[in-house]
Symmetry: C2
Subunit: 466 residues, 2 copies
C-alpha cells in the first residue's frame, strides 16, 4: 500500500494507473445522476484538495459514501487518472473508501462549507485550521519561519534562546505580566507590609520578557552573529488589529556592525523570506491574491525588485511638513511619526520600502547609540508600503560613559543593568541589531488584516481561550 | 578590505599572501624574545582561535599590543601565511592591530584565562559565552535546533507556535506559574471573598503552558503533520541537574499515525540530528570528547549505527525482576520505572536505545490511547544509554466514548476539554506524537552534566537572574 500525500498526487509524482492511498478529510461531496460521487479530500499538504471519483458499486456506497459530509475523515485507495476536471491534472478513481471518523450532527458542524467571518473563525480557533484560509496562513507562517532560520544559518548566525521569564524590564517600558506561584489568598508580606517576593518561586518579582535584545547582546559580544526567535509579551490594553499580548519576535544582533550594516541585513532578510514564500508557497499566495488582497503577490515582488531607500528622520520631517497633505497628527521635529506619516513616506513619496534613520534621542530607548550631533541616535525603522513600520533597530551604545549618562538621564537604576554594563567594561565592541514582529510579517505577506488571524491561538485583553 | 570570519581563514578559504581583516576578542597573548607577539583571536565562528603574528615595528606595538589581555576586542589586518605552529594550517602576519575595546582591570576580569568551575560560570551567564565550553555548547545547540527544524520541514511537517499563556492545565499536573497583571496589594475579590480573575488581564486565571500537545493536536487533525518547538514551564521545586523551570520542547503530532509510526519518527529524528552535529560541529564535538566526556562522539555514533530495540513495559518488568541486580527502588508491574531501571535496560541489558511501550494505564495521562487489554495504553518512552528517558510519547485516544470515560475516572472537568473533545466529534482520526526536552538533548549530545549549562540563562527555584 502506497500512502501518498495529496501534494504529491496533484504534483504528478505517481504515474497514471498506479495505485495509491490518500488519507484526509472531506471538503465537499457531489453525487452525479450517473451514480458516481465526487469527493474532494484534503490533507493539509498543499492548498488544493484531490478529487476522488467513487463508483456506486463499492459495497459501502449507499450506506456510507453518499452520507459523507464536510469534515469526515476518510482513507481512500484508488488508481491515479488524468483529470478532465477543472484545472487539476490528476484525480483518483477510488476502489475503496474507508470512513475513519464521522461528523456528529453535520447541520451544526461549526466549519460547514460556507464563508465564515474571521471573527466567527476566531471563536473556533481549534477548528479553523480546517478552513482554506487558516490552512494557507499556517503553511505560509511555517515557510516564513523556516526561511528566517535558514537565512541566519547560512550567514553564520547562531540561534539563541533568550529567557522568557525575567527579573528585569529590558526596555523600562512597564506593561509587564507578572509570573508567580504565590498563593494570592495568603500573600507573604515584608515588615513594611509589601509583598515579600523573596518567598516567590524565583525569590524576586519576575515577569514575562518584552524583548530578548539585552540578553542576546551578551552572546553577540562573544560569538559575533546571533539571533533570537521566540515569544515576547506586552500587557498592553490595546484591542487593535495590530497588537497581541503574546507574539513572536526575531532579533538579530551583530558585533562590529553599525546601523548601515543592520539596515542592509534587514533588507536582505526581507527579500530572502519573501522570495522563499513566493517560490515555496505559490499555491497559498495565489489564494491570498485571489480572495484576501489582490496585491499580495505584487507587493512582495515589488519589495524584492527594489532597493530600499534610506532617509534621515530630519529630512523625512521636512518632506512631511512640505508635502501639502493634511495629516490627522501634526509633524514636528522631535516627535514620533504616526502610521499615517510612515505610510505616506513609503507609499506616496517613495513608492518602495524606506529605512528611516537617526531619530531624536529623546524619543528612543536608553541603549541606542548617540550620534555626534548630540541630538539624534543611530536608530532605524523599516517602513513598508501597505503596512508602515515592520522593523525597528539601532546601533547600541557601546561606550560606557555615554551609556551611564543615558541611564542617569532616564532615571534607570544603574545596578539593575550591571551585567549589561559589563559588556562595555570588558572588550566592548560596536554592535547593532533589530527586531521584527513575526506576526506582523505574516500579516504583511498574506494580506490578512487582523494579526489575531495569523497566530494559532491569539492572546489579547480578556482572551486566552484554548 | 576583506573582512574574514576566522572559520574561513582556518578553513583555507583565502590564499596564502592575500590580505584579510579579522575582528574578535583576544584569547591569549604571548611575546617572544625576538620581539614579536602571538595573539590568538576568537570570533565565535568556530571552536578555534586564529593566531596573529604581530611584529614589533607596528607603531602601537609597545604601548598597545603588548598590553592586550584576554577579552580585549581587536581588529587585525594582515596577510595569510602557512602556519608552522601547533596543528593549524594558517595564521595571519599582522600589519595593523586596532584595539577596539580594552578590558577594565584585567586582574579582576571574571573570564580570566584559567579553568573555571561550571558553578562559577553560571554566576556569570552574561560572560560565559566567551569561554570555550559555552561557545561550543552554543554552536551545538544551534546546530541541533536547525537540524530539528530541517528534519521536520523535509518531511512535510509544519511548525505550529502553540500558546505560551493558557487558561487550561494540559496535563492536569498542577505545578503552574500564574500569569497576571493584578495589583497584589489591591486584589479584586468576588462576593465569596475569592480573587476575582474576571478583573485580570485575560478575564480568567491564566498560566504558563506545560506542553503544547493538546493545542497542536488541533492542527494535526487538519494539516496532518505538525510540530511545536517552543518554551514550556514547570513550577516544580526541583533543584536537580535535570530540571529547569523554563525549557524548550519539541512536540511532533501526526494524524493517521499509531505508536509504531511515531516510534520510528523518534528514531529517525534522533539519528538525523546526531548526524548533523557530528558532521557540522566536528570541532566542538572533538572538544567535548577531549575535555568533558570521552564518549561524546562514540555515544552518538552508536545510536546512529544501531536499530532501536522495542520492548513492552510488561516484558521489561520481568527482565528487571529477574536480572539479579539490586535496585534502590523495587520493580512491580503497575509502577513507573525509575532512572536506575531505565538505564539498566538501555545500558546493560540491551546496549542500545530502547523504546519501551504499552505502559499501565493508571500511571499515564488521560489522553493516551487505551489498548485492547483494558490495562495498558499505547505510550512509549525512548531510553538512551547514558541518560535514560529522552523522549516520551503516545497514541492519543481518538474515540470519544473512551476519552470521556477516562476524563470521568480521573475526575477532570469535561467542559474544560470541550474543544479537545470536538476533535473527536468531528472527523476524528487516530493520531500520535511525542515530546522531546530540547535541553536534555543538548546535554546528552555534549556530555555536559548539568542542564543549566546548556541553556543561555537558566531558570530554577530562586534563580531568574539576568
Amino acid at each position: 500500500m502506497t500512502i501518498a500525500v495529496i501534494k504529491d498526487v496533484l504534483g504528478g509524482r505517481y504515474a497514471e494507473g498506479s495505485t495509491v492511498t490518500v488519507r484526509g478529510w472531506v471538503r465537499t461531496r457531489r453525487d452525479s445522476k450517473a451514480g458516481i460521487s465526487f469527493i474532494n479530500v484534503h490533507d493539509g499538504s498543499c492548498f488544493d484538495a484531490v478529487q476522488a471519483v467513487v463508483p456506486s458499486n463499492l459495497p459501502n456506497y449507499s450506506n456510507e459514501v453518499t452520507k459523507l459530509t464536510t469534515g469526515c475523515a476518510v482513507i481512500i485507495t484508488g488508481t491515479i487518472a488524468a483529470s478532465a476536471g477543472q484545472g487539476q491534472a490528476f484525480e483518483i478513481q477510488a476502489t475503496t473508501v474507508e470512513v475513519v471518523g464521522w461528523v456528529e450532527d453535520p447541520d451544526t458542524y461549526p466549519m460547514a462549507p460556507k464563508r465564515h467571518s474571521m471573527e466567527y473563525l476566531r471563536e473556533f480557533a481549534h477548528l479553523r485550521p480546517r478552513t482554506n484560509i487558516t490552512g494557507a496562513v499556517t503553511r505560509v507562517r511555517h515557510c516564513l519561519a523556516q526561511a528566517v532560520h535558514r537565512f541566519f544559518h547560512e550567514r553564520g548566525f547562531y540561534w539563541i534562546s533568550t529567557p522568557i521569564i525575567t527579573t528585569s524590564d529590558a526596555e523600562g517600558a512597564g506593561e509587564l505580566f507578572r509570573v508567580s506561584t504565590l498563593d494570592l489568598m495568603n500573600l507573604p508580606l515584608t515588615d513594611e507590609g509589601k509583598v515579600n517576593f523573596k518567598e516567590d518561586f524565583f525569590g524576586k518579582e519576575a515577569f514575562l520578557t518584552v524583548s530578548g535584545q539585552l540578553n542576546v547582546e551578551t552572546y553577540a559580544c562573544a560569538l559575533s552573529n546571533v539571533y533570537t526567535f521566540g515569544p515576547t509579551f506586552r500587557a498592553e490594553n490595546s484591542n487593535t488589529s495590530r497588537h497581541l499580548a503574546e507574539f513572536w519576535m526575531i532579533e538579530p544582533e551583530v558585533a562590529f556592525a553599525d546601523l548601515e550594516d543592520v539596515a542592509k541585513l534587514a533588507e536582505d532578510m526581507l527579500k530572502y523570506v519573501f522570495n522563499a514564500v513566493l517560490t515555496e508557497r505559490a499555491d497559498d499566495m495565489a489564494f491570498f491574491a485571489e480572495r484576501i488582497d489582490k496585491e499580495a503577490i505584487t507587493r512582495l515582488q515589488h519589495v524584492i525588485d527594489n532597493n530600499f531607500v534610506h532617509m534621515d528622520y530630519t529630512d523625512a520631517v521636512e518632506i512631511l511638513k512640505n508635502c501639502g497633505k493634511e495629516f490627522t497628527y501634526p509633524v514636528e521635529w522631535g516627535t514620533d511619526l504616526q502610521s499615517e506619516h510612515e505610510r505616506y513616506l513609503a507609499e506616496e513619496h517613495v513608492g518602495a520600502p524606506v529605512i528611516l534613520k537617526n531619530y531624536p534621542r529623546d524619543i528612543k530607548a536608553f541603549y541606542m547609540r548617540q550620534n555626534a550631533d548630540g541630538k539624534t541616535v543611530a536608530a532605524m525603522d523599516v517602513l513598508a508600503p501597505g503596512i508602515g513600520e515592520i522593523i525597528g533597530g539601532s546601533a547600541r551604545e557601546e561606550r560606557l560613559d555615554l551609556l551611564d549618562k543615558r541611564l542617569e538621564e532616564m532615571k534607570l537604576p544603574k545596578e539593575e543593568y550591571s551585567w549589561y554594563r559589563d559588556l562595555r567594561r570588558y572588550g566592548t565592541v560596536p554592535h547593532a541589531g533589530f527586531g521584527l514582529g513575526f506576526e506582523r510579517l505574516v500579516a504583511y505577506v498574506t494580506g490578512v488584516q487582523n494579526i489575531r488571524d495569523v497566530i494559532p491561538f491569539p492572546r489579547s485583553p480578556k482572551n486566552a481561550e484554548f
